[in-house]
């Protein structure tokens, strides 16, 4: 009986989530026209431009140059992120603390909390804060990437270290190894492959983040995209987007090649990959130092110090008569925006999920080649390739750049933000969920097929029950990420807290910023909590 309850529990949760999505749609004012008067025509122009991007030599050269800048910022940011992640990750995992010591638990908690804080705030928010504090130096972008990525990587490293199998560690301990020796001879070698593979995945994300850094005025591909969009030159936009996609695809291919060889032990490929990463790191830092003349220590001049001090003091509302966060009126206004932002995230994940569910089955390799359904057709390969290509396009373009294009089409408000977030996330969800189908046990499905079930019945009885719990956990996980990103799409006028953030920033209302960040953190924590709760219920 308990078992059947669990089955129902999943169904009830799914139903509940569907209802929440339907509820969230009420926030949008459907009576007003959703599109700009010329929105449809603009949409067609953008699509048409995609078919013939501008490939003139000067644009290509410019794109190549911007791509390099984007890459260097990403590499430099990741270098610092890795240092943060290793130091705090080890401390947060508790493997070097003496477990008998009463403070060990406390210090573990403290460093976990610190990592949680680092990753709670989106990199673009950090970037805006740093540009306000330090000015337009590459380090504003690099630090903005380093902090949240350090937080995410550190958290994952800590989890990997504390999940290490105990037997090898105990046998090392019995030889009298110290805590530090255990770390270097036991823990690190055991998690090395996983650490590298996760770092590579994050590096790919960092390239996208670095591309959008330009939004706050720092160079790179995103900057060029923004300039071309301002000129309504969509052919150029697509050229830069294609370059961004190319970098992402190359890194994706490199990392999956490296990952598959990591499990087989050392090889020439791994060695080459390691040397390549090392030279990328050195090359990027050299470039920053020599070409951009950005020495790390110029950050700490007296002048910069003054600016930074003034900025942080005004964040705290010092020097203002009534800082925003002491006014009930502002709280109500900001909480209303917070609610809108929450709804935006729900609409976004809902739309991404719908598109994913429609496309995911033909996007699985074992469906395309007919192994799973016992039927083969030319058509299934065509739809497989088309859908997979749309997934790549979807996830290679960052949410912010989708948002910049979308606001040309939709009226400002919650909807364009949600659409932009959905556009970026359906590709990620689709890829993850298609892989779940590819990993399915084929035996029950073959049996259904041999006992006379139709394709639709095989899907209903064989595929969906096995994959839905995993789909649900991916959807909830992406919702957490979307929650963090809602603020960013708001920057370009797509509604919610982000739009207010950008406005307050341009009017130098810094104590507004503090209130908005507080509400934003609240949302992020709420999302993490709810999604953790639902995932446990769905298990």
């Amino acid at each position: 009986m308990k078992q059947s309850l669990r089955f129902q529990q999943k169904n009830i949760l799914t139903l509940l989530l569907v209802l929440v999505f339907l509820w969230s749609l009420r926030v949008i004012d459907w009576k007003e026209p959703l599109l700009h008067p010329g929105g449809g025509a603009t949409f067609l122009q953008i699509i048409e431009a995609m078919l013939h991007p501008n490939l003139s030599p000067e644009i290509l050269l410019l794109a190549l140059d911007s791509a390099w800048v984007t890459l260097t910022y990403a590499v430099a940011g990741m270098t610092i992120a890795i240092v943060i992640a290793v130091i705090f990750g080890v401390l947060a995992s508790g493997v070097i603390q003496n477990s008998q010591h009463p403070l060990s638990m406390l210090s573990k908690r403290f460093f976990r909390g610190l990592l949680g804080f680092l990753r709670a705030i989106h990199e673009l928010v950090w970037a805006l804060l740093f540009v306000s504090a330090f000015g337009l130096t590459p380090y504003s972008a690099i630090l903005a990437i380093a902090i949240p990525y350090g937080g995410i990587l550190g958290r994952i490293f800590a989890d990997m270290l504390s999940d290490v199998k105990k037997e090898p560690i105990q046998s090392l301990q019995s030889t009298g190894a110290s805590k530090w020796q255990l770390l270097f001879y036991g823990y690190f070698p055991l998690v090395r492959a996983n650490m590298i593979s996760y770092t590579m995945y994050r590096f790919e994300c960092a390239v996208r983040s670095s591309a959008v850094m330009s939004f706050v005025g720092l160079g790179g591909l995103g900057y060029q995209i923004q300039l071309s969009l301002d000129d309504l030159n969509y052919e150029e936009v697509w050229t830069f987007v294609l370059f961004l996609m190319a970098i992402v695809i190359v890194i994706d291919g490199w990392s999956s090649g490296w990952r598959s060889r990591l499990s087989k032990g050392s090889s020439r490929f791994s060695m080459l990959s390691f040397l390549l990463s090392l030279s990328l790191v050195i090359g990027s830092w050299m470039y920053l130092y020599k070409v951009e003349h950005a020495s790390f220590f110029t950050l700490f001049t007296d002048e910069n110090g003054e600016y930074a001090k003034k900025f942080f003091l005004s964040l705290l509302g010092i020097g203002e008569e009534t800082p925003t966060f002491f006014s009930a009126q502002s709280w109500i206004h900001t909480l209303q925006l917070t609610y809108d932002t929450l709804m935006m995230s729900i609409i976004a994940i809902g739309m991404a999920t719908i598109v994913m569910l429609i496309t995911v089955v033909p996007a699985a390799r074992n469906v395309a080649n007919g192994k799973l359904t016992m039927s083969r057709s030319f058509f299934s390969w065509v739809s497989f390739l088309l859908i997979r290509a749309s997934y790549i396009l979807s996830r290679a373009v960052p949410e912010l750049i989708w948002a910049m294009m979308i606001i040309f089409i939709f009226q400002p408000g919650i909807l364009p933000g949600a659409v932009a977030l959905a556009l970026h996330n359906f590709g990620i969800l689709g890829k993850l969920c298609a892989e779940v189908i590819e990993d399915l046990d084929e035996r029950p499905i073959r049996h259904l097929s041999s006992s006379g079930a139709s394709h639709a019945q095989i899907l209903l009885y064989g595929v969906l029950p096995s994959v839905l719990p995993k789909f649900l956990s991916f959807i909830l996980y992406r919702w957490e990420v979307i929650m963090r990103t809602t603020i960013v799409v708001g920057f370009v006028g797509a509604g919610g807290l982000g739009q207010q953030f950008k406005l307050s920033m341009s009017y130098f209302h810094y104590s507004d910023i503090t209130l908005i960040i507080l509400c934003y953190l609240l949302l992020v924590w709420l999302a993490d909590f709810l999604s953790e709760l639902s995932r446990k219920a769905a298990k």
Binding site: M1, Q3, S4, R6, F7, D441, R443, P444, R446, H447, L448, S450, S451, G452, A453, S454, A456, Q457, L460, Y461, G462, P465, S466, L468, P469
Partner: protein, 252 residues
């Protein structure tokens, strides 16, 4: 011999994978109601033979007639489901579904799409599932998650599914290979009893000669895709068996 009694007629069937022979020019006549055990060393072609009979192995040469009809007649999945049913070593149940849906999956060939969707919410023809589960002694587990059952119980769920499907021929590929001896006897007990009651024809591949002797009427020995012997169970002697297995060993 009365041809109408031959439910399966296999003539000169050969199958090979990548140049390796799996079945070499095999001929068999099987009567309605027989219970046949296929034995032989690993790689003898037992699974390939069962795949040929279940029409899931389509490449190969030779002739196959099932109940007077060629394989093309069974291309319609509903017709095939009524004629042939398959049971393997566990693993072919959908673990994430409750037992009742796995049992009713035997009925999918007869159901419309709407009915199959509805059934996932409110189980349709639940009485039939209950009856089938009662016959395999699992009525009390009807709502449990299939993945949480033990290996023997899962195999009994698969038997209940066959009861719901009601095929005329049951092909069992190592049905008890992953079970301990007590569970294995239990499953074979139920399987052969049900086959007898439903007047079905059973063809099972087995590793154990003892089970073959205890539960089956006819024993076929296969080695390297060829027939070594084909005898009523009473005529099987130790000499036959040592020939079957010894030959296999010297070839390795």
């Amino acid at each position: 011999m009365e041809t109408s009694q031959n439910i399966i007629d296999l003539k000169d069937v050969s199958v090979s994978f990548d140049g390796k022979i799996a079945l070499s020019s095999l001929s068999l006549l099987i009567n309605k109601g027989e219970r046949i055990a296929l034995i032989g060393p690993s790689g003898a072609g037992k699974s390939t033979l069962l795949n040929v009979l279940s029409l899931s192995q389509v490449s190969g040469t030779g002739m196959l007639i099932i109940d007077g009809q060629p394989p093309s007649y069974y291309r319609n999945r509903k017709v095939r489901a009524k004629k042939i049913g398959v049971i393997r070593q566990q693993f072919d149940l959908v673990n994430a579904l409750p037992v009742v849906h796995n049992v009713l999956a035997g009925k999918l060939a007869d159901w419309s799409l709407v009915k199959s969707i509805l059934s996932l919410v409110i189980p349709q023809e639940k009485e039939m599932a209950k009856k089938a589960l009662t016959r395999v002694g699992l009525a009390h587990k009807i709502l449990e998650q299939t993945g949480s059952l033990s290996g023997g119980e899962q195999q009994r769920v698969a038997l209940a599914r066959l009861l719901v499907q009601e095929p005329e021929i049951i092909l069992a590929d190592e049905p008890v290979a992953s079970l301990d001896p007590a569970r294995a006897e239990d499953v074979l007990d139920i399987l052969t009893k049900l086959v007898l009651e439903e007047k079905q024809t059973l063809i099972a591949s087995l590793h154990s000669v003892d089970y073959a002797k205890k539960y089956f009427t006819r024993v076929i020995g296969l080695r390297e895709g060829a027939l070594v012997f084909d005898l009523p169970v009473g005529e099987l002697t130790d000499r036959h068996l040592s020939e079957l297995y010894k030959l296999g060993e010297t070839m390795e």
